[in-house]
């Protein structure tokens, strides 16, 4: 059965997200931690003068892409879990898209499982950052 991707919003969203994740990996590979030429700067640090929990994330990603895991942990200890989130999402976009095309009868369940699963992975990966936002309102 021939599928027109234009009529399948789920597939369009999957392709787009996969592209965005690939761009993130390309960014991490292109900019080097030695040259320190990252265009994205921490606005939080610029405003407050204090480093935030996500500072050093670009360095960490670049080092993970280059296989220097120990150094990546030194730059940002949450870098690995965020990187794994993006990596898992890239794999999930491909896998879910294949399942979506192969099993048309289970599409609704597949989308539901994807939404819930991705949401859980997101909260687990980004929990330190979410906790930081919550803690900001506490004191």
């Amino acid at each position: 059965m021939k599928v027109n991707v234009r009529n399948e919003p789920y597939l369009i969203i999957n392709i787009f997200f996969a592209g965005v994740i690939l761009l993130i990996f390309a960014y991490s590979g292109f900019f080097s931690p030695e040259k320190d030429n990252y265009p994205v700067v921490c606005i939080h640090e610029k405003l407050t003068g204090e480093p935030c929990v996500s500072c050093g994330l670009s360095h960490s990603f670049s080092l993970i892409v280059r296989g220097r895991i120990a150094e990546a942990y030194q730059w940002n200890r949450y870098g690995m879990r965020v990187f794994l989130f993006f990596a898992s999402q890239l794999i999930l976009r491909v896998v879910f898209s294949i399942f979506y095309l192969r099993y048309p009868d289970t599409r609704k369940q597949l989308v539901t499982v994807d939404c819930i699963g991705s949401g859980i992975i997101f909260f687990v990966a980004f929990w330190p950052f979410i906790a930081n936002i919550v803690s900001g309102f506490k004191f």
Partner: protein, 175 residues
């Protein structure tokens, strides 16, 4: 009569949902959380336009609604980053809420700048003009003072020399 399903707003719904999800991920990261409000507003606008179109044409609006809800939550998180940043900085005493501290900092900087400046004073009275040009280099002055103090503690004849220097200075001033 068969109900005609219209897909008006479907593309807008996809665009809104993608923008909203990206905004959500950005909003949670403190480094770029503040700027996530821009795509957040864009996503809200796209979703609202799409919703109004789909309601008019009676087309499905599930994706649009999802996009709108995620965009609103993401924008709220992004906006909350301002307060979080403010409170964290306040805790570290670095948020510039005390204008007095800023003025003191500026004052200190200006004083530091003046320490190394060249000063020229002109006095004019009853046709007489006196012009004093001096280098306010603090380090030079301190060195001169140290030299003078060192000299003063040595011998009596050097003090006389010092007196003669002072006299010379007075004479030059009078001229």
């Amino acid at each position: 009569m068969e109900e005609v399903k219209n897909n008006t707003g479907q593309n807008l719904g996809i665009a809104a949902l993608i923008t909203a999800v990206i905004t959500f991920v950005l909003a949670v990261i403190p480094c770029v959380g503040l700027i996530a409000i821009i795509p957040g507003i864009i996503a809200i606008v796209i979703a609202t336009v799409g919703l109004s179109q789909s309601r008019r044409n009676n087309s499905p609006h599930g994706v649009l609604l999802a996009g709108l809800i995620i965009a609103i939550i993401a924008s709220m998180i992004s906006f909350s980053q301002i307060f979080v940043a403010g409170k964290i900085a306040q805790k570290a005493n670095k948020w510039p809420n005390n204008i007095g501290n800023i003025i003191n900092d500026v004052q200190d900087n200006v004083t530091k700048e003046i320490e190394d400046a060249n000063v020229s004073i002109k006095v004019e009275s009853n046709g007489n003009k006196v012009e004093i040009n001096t280098n306010a280099d603090k380090k030079d002055k301190e060195k001169t003072l140290e030299d003078l103090e060192g000299v003063a503690t040595q011998k009596r004849d050097t003090i006389q020399k010092h007196d003669s220097i002072q006299k010379h200075v007075i004479v030059r001033k009078k001229k």
